[in-house]
Subunit: 144 residues, 4 copies
């Protein structure tokens, strides 16, 4: 039964932050959610801004909420700004359409959760999340 | 007094989803509201994103909230984006101006409720809702 | 992979309401949630009060939120009233500790979702939910 | 300036959960907050209810919010239930007065953050939190 375990989520979070240190990213926050959009792991690095955990959650929750990865949401938000303003309200601030929100699939293709990273440029955030997911033997979907 | 019955709402919801399968739409969520804006029926297909029920509700609630169908709201939102940003907040996230929010009238022209569909492109969502309403012997108003 | 399907949720909801009619319960609303606490099906019978869908959701969501069934929550709420007032706020009104919130397990014992029923006495609500879950070949946990 | 580091918060969280497994507690969620009440670490064990992360946060946030540890808040809540109902609303659901919300001090006595644990009986939750804080070389204040 594919369900994201705490052990897997720990690997994802730790490897995400490890990649951040390796590429000298700014202090990051990483959030790993299960398929239902609930926290498995949150880690906020020292010096990372106060809102970063909520932004990282909104990246991660948003991709599960819409069933579309961060880059796809970002593209759609550019062409439909009013709709995405509405989504911010509908979701109670739990959705933001940005790279760095990445869906997690099993190698067999089943959706098991998502990762959100915030702290540096969205592309850097995303790079770290992708590394983390792969390090756990799972498959990232960025929307690229 | 014409009031939308659960039996009618069931037909609308079932036929909406049936049309979705027929045209190979992505997994859909359908919400049917009565004239007071309260749930009669919600159905979320397997694999449909976590926020889709709230989006479908916002499509359906919004058209009752404004007394104008989804396409009309969408046109107005383009020319009055700040107003619709305000509406998102005023309604507490219960309104989104998009095709796929469809008013339900009796053949005699009385308003009895609304349908909201979310999951695929708004035009596809709307097509399914229109089919569902007609299948129940009622009259859809899309705002076209 | 045990995941509550829309087809299963439909059986649960329909059989819940069928039992309600059979025992001449007041008009009911039934909500079926998946394991993540998200709507699969909502059905509100004609004449059922405006808040019933939110109450039924709070019964269903609350048992998933706490991992404890409705009767157990009701017993705990009696001895810990301040805590449960806090839970109402923490959950944003998504939890109410009452019979009629029933966990759904597979025959193998895996948690796959929950049912909430509201409209009549809590014991009557629960009786209908239990019947619905069994009719779908699944196993209810009421907390008794 | 003493500030709770991610490295310390990780030790606290890991040792909290390790103690939980050792004493065969139910699945737990542990939240570690910095002095400003913001997430450093969240870990939710497999099988732990959906609301547990928010409850653990409310235990942890509440002790920082009031500057009093969980057992002290619990005693006060018994004698002042209306006040604590107000606090639940004032804090927007970010406070619950229960054992298992533990203040973290340095050996020199400076407040650096808090821990909240939820999943088992409050006394068990607290026992695990106390172990975790001590394992990091820090000093727990439970309000006893």
């Amino acid at each position: 039964m594919p369900e994201l375990s705490l052990a897997q989520a720990e690997i994802i979070a730790d490897e995400t932050l490890k990649k951040g240190r390796e590429i000298k990213a700014k202090p990051l926050t990483v959030v790993v959610l299960d398929q239902g959009g609930h926290y498995k792991v949150v880690k906020r690095e020292d010096g990372c801004g106060l809102l970063r955990a909520d932004i990282a959650r909104a990246k991660a929750w948003g991709v599960l909420g819409m069933g579309q990865a961060g880059r796809e949401l970002a593209r759609r938000a550019e062409s439909m700004p009013v709709f995405f303003t509405g989504l911010a309200a509908i979701s109670g601030g739990k959705l933001v359409p940005l790279p760095g929100g990445v869906l997690i699939h099993t190698p067999e293709g089943e959706l098991v959760g998502s990762v959100g990273v915030s702290g540096d440029l969205s592309e850097v955030d995303e790079q770290c999340a992708v590394h983390g997911i792969k390090a756990a033997g799972l498959v990232p979907e960025t929307g690229e």
